[in-house]
């Protein structure tokens, strides 16, 4: 049986480290790779064809020029306030990466590190584009997230 391939998109190493430790402790057959931003995630999606994707939301350690999203139109939308536009992109970066990757994600289970408990309609809206999308409740353990990524449940 081939190992399950999981792509983790985050601006640090917290999640990928945690998944690797858990998988190793449980003796699971899984391979984790990590992408730092949209471009490396897109390349990894195409090259590695992962079985599942884990996506962080806040990318406040990513340089401004590596953030996904149309900064120019956001600056215009925020009345010329560039700092606000960049802050918006960084704090919602996971959503922007998800939006850009959506056409490549057909059938791939995706866990977004965002708690949709008080915004169920928001989750449904996003599922309109990425059918396999799930959120990560604030108190959920990494194990639960890993179970979902490995088994799609």
């Amino acid at each position: 049986m081939t190992a399950r391939r999981i792509l983790v998109v985050e601006d640090g190493t917290e999640y990928v480290d945690g998944f690797e430790r858990l998988a190793s402790a449980r003796g699971l057959d899984a391979v984790f790779s990590r992408a730092l931003d949209l471009e490396t995630a897109r390349a990894a999606l195409v090259a590695e064809l992962p079985d599942a994707l884990f996506l962080d939301v806040v990318f406040d350690r990513t340089p401004e020029d590596r953030l996904a999203g149309d900064a120019g139109s956001l600056v215009a939308r925020f009345g010329g306030d560039r700092a606000r536009a960049v802050r918006h992109l960084a704090t919602h970066q996971g959503f922007y990466i998800l939006d850009a990757l959506a056409p490549l994600l057909a059938g791939v289970p995706v866990v977004l590190a965002y708690d949709f408990a008080v915004e169920p309609q928001r989750l449904e809206t996003l599922r309109g584009r990425v059918r396999g999308l799930s959120g990560l409740p604030d108190g959920a353990s990494l194990s639960a997230a890993l179970d979902f990524l490995l088994k799609g449940k």
């Binding site: 917290e14 009345g79 919602h92 008080v118 928001r122 996003l126 409740p137 604030d138 959920a140 990494l142």
Partner: protein
Amino acid sequence: MWQAILPVLLAATPGTVPECADDPGSLAEQAEGLVAAGTPVPENLARARDFVRRARLASPSLALALRGADLAAAAGDADDEARLLEVAAKEAPEFLSVAERLMLARQAEARGDRRGAILQYGHVLAALARRGQSGADWIGESIRRLDAEEEARKLPERPGFAPASADARRAFADGKAALRRAANEPARDAFRRALRLSPGYSEAALALGSVEERDGRTAEAAAAYRTALAADPDGFEALLALANLLWNEPDRPAKEESLALLDRAAALRPDLPRLLREAANRWAAWGDPARALERLDAWWPAASPEERTGAGAFRARLRARLMRTGVPEPAALASDPASPAVGAFRLAQVYAGRPDARSWDDAESELAEAERLDPLFVPALELRAALHERRDDLAGAEEVLRRAVAVDPSRTAAWERLAELLARQPARAHDAKTAWEHAEQAGSREALFALARIASGEGRSSRAAALFRRYLAEAAGGVHAEEARAGLEREERRQETLRGAALGAGAFALLAGGLSWSRRRMGLTLDEWLRRDPGATRDARSVAGRLSHEAFKHGGLLLGEAVERLNSRGGLAEAAPLLVERLYGASGAPGLVAETRTALSDLEALARRRGARLNLRFKDPLLSPVSRSLDALERAERDLTRLAGTGSLPARRLEALRRTLRAAASVLSSRTAQLSTAGLDAAGSTEVRFDRLASLLASVAREKDAAEPPLAGLGLFAATSDGKRVRVRVPEGDWTTLWRNLFANALQTPRLALLAEERRDPVTGQALARFVLFDGDPRLLTAEMIRGRAAERGLGVVADLVRRWDGLVDVTPGTGEFTKGVAVEFAAVEETA
């Protein structure tokens, strides 16, 4: 009305023979020549106005002011007419009719002169009252609004300073240590050094101000307090300290500023009603019974029955004064700003601030002169005492200070200085205590601390604890706050011991319960604070977001994983190295426990800056368990580190460690995050309904004395959708302000329409609510024009609020009779089942 007597007045203008071009009489005559025959041509009118202007400059007179106003009216220059009528009104108020006063008020308001407008509206009210006419409540409302706008305009911007550096904090600690030794000079140097290292270090500035004030260096103390306020505009202690300092100054501008500062302090600390009582006293002394009564009435519900009885006569006097006349009363201040001693006193202040003994001699001479001119002028006596002290003439200083408090027994500063002077003489401890008691009765916070220490030294533990508590309640960030906290803890421990010995275990438990009860009662919970100050939600959300991210999400994941391993063989030992690294930090990076503590203390600091005191540690039902979990995790560090290093731990300690981790994991969880978000949402959001906005439009129209344009609802606000509710992430106060401004700018249009729609952000999927106010105003308006306006003007306020709450503002084209629409969009709260 005044036009009728103008010819008579002009006839009395001096020097009517044209001797030279700049002679006022000649200029006035030339002006009359130009406008004498019927309606003058505009050029002649302009020249005539110029002649009158020059004549007024050379020799101002009532007649020329009125003539200037007349010519300005003829030229259609309403602003100049109003300005000149105001000049005339100051000299001869009886010449102006009520209608003219009203016009002056309107024009003053239009040009942003709120004080001028209030004055004129006040005259109108007084005139109506004299005629026994009522029904002009709107004038009173206008005055209140203008007064509030003026106060709001004076509020300082919040500056951004870097946190104090480690060196600055060390210097500050040195200063406080010096203060404890009563070594003022080294303390001053240390505080100054701290400020040089970190210019925005408000605590250091506050402490420096306190030292300067004790040394009688008023100007330096005021400068230091202003520095503290510049760094922290809502710093309660600095506000109050500067208010008290300036109130003791002899000039009117200082007292006026002091009154404004005290009002701000009272607004920041509604839990200290005595500030309102003090403000009432001072406004009364200032000669403004209306403001005094307003503050007294605000204090009334919080006062005890005894206090009300005591204040009854004062209240009655204020009401009587208010009824007596509409003319402002002359100020009846203890230290009369109009005292003939002021000039000499000012000079003495300058000399006293210089370092050389010769200047001090000059200061003494000036003070002697001040005292000769006005023996009851207290500030001169206080400065004189400070000079005596500098020369180690303690007896002389005491004699002068005793005279000062005899003249004005309510003067805090004089009592404090007398008490400090006596306290420096070991044999006079009893006298010092008496002086401190007088100072405390006069409202001194310094006296609370001094009396607490005295009580502690005398072994009166409960009295000492009560005084320390009062000091901390009234000066939480004050210069003695740390010592007071330590003192309070010491006294509480002492009481526990004493009572424990006397009453046994039962009484001890009761006391501990009482203490715990009192700790639980002090301060506000996060929810209570946000309900009182919904505007804080935005800043609080960012700190709470960090808390949620660090503690509840990362912490929850980490601890959840650890708990899962507890039951596996050797599981916890394997997880220990990671737990140690993440919980307590590694390679200089702070761990989760420290990050969470920082987020909690940032939340408390944010509240403090906005004048509230949070009690997250003991009172907050949501966050006090978090604090306790952090305590437990900190206590577990040693065992967890040992387990990570050696792989084993004695069974009992291992079991205790498991319990700690389980308990922490249950607190640092999704439920805490959800409750925290729900609290912020409830405080920081507003339910939007069409009927409420329509009623707001009617109210704005009434205020502006304008016809209310009919308002149609569109989209979610259309009749068929009536009852549809939208909740936006904007606190109610700001939401109302935003619409007041939008409506106020749209009153001139014959009809309005308001569209509401919900949408989703195309990328993030977030719920958004969009509102468009359509009008038929043909004047050009663009989004850039809205964003570019100064924040205090109409639509500029809208732009400011939109920015604050992360929304958008735009101008969209209209259709049919509507030329355009102003659109605002904000995040909406999703309705959940």
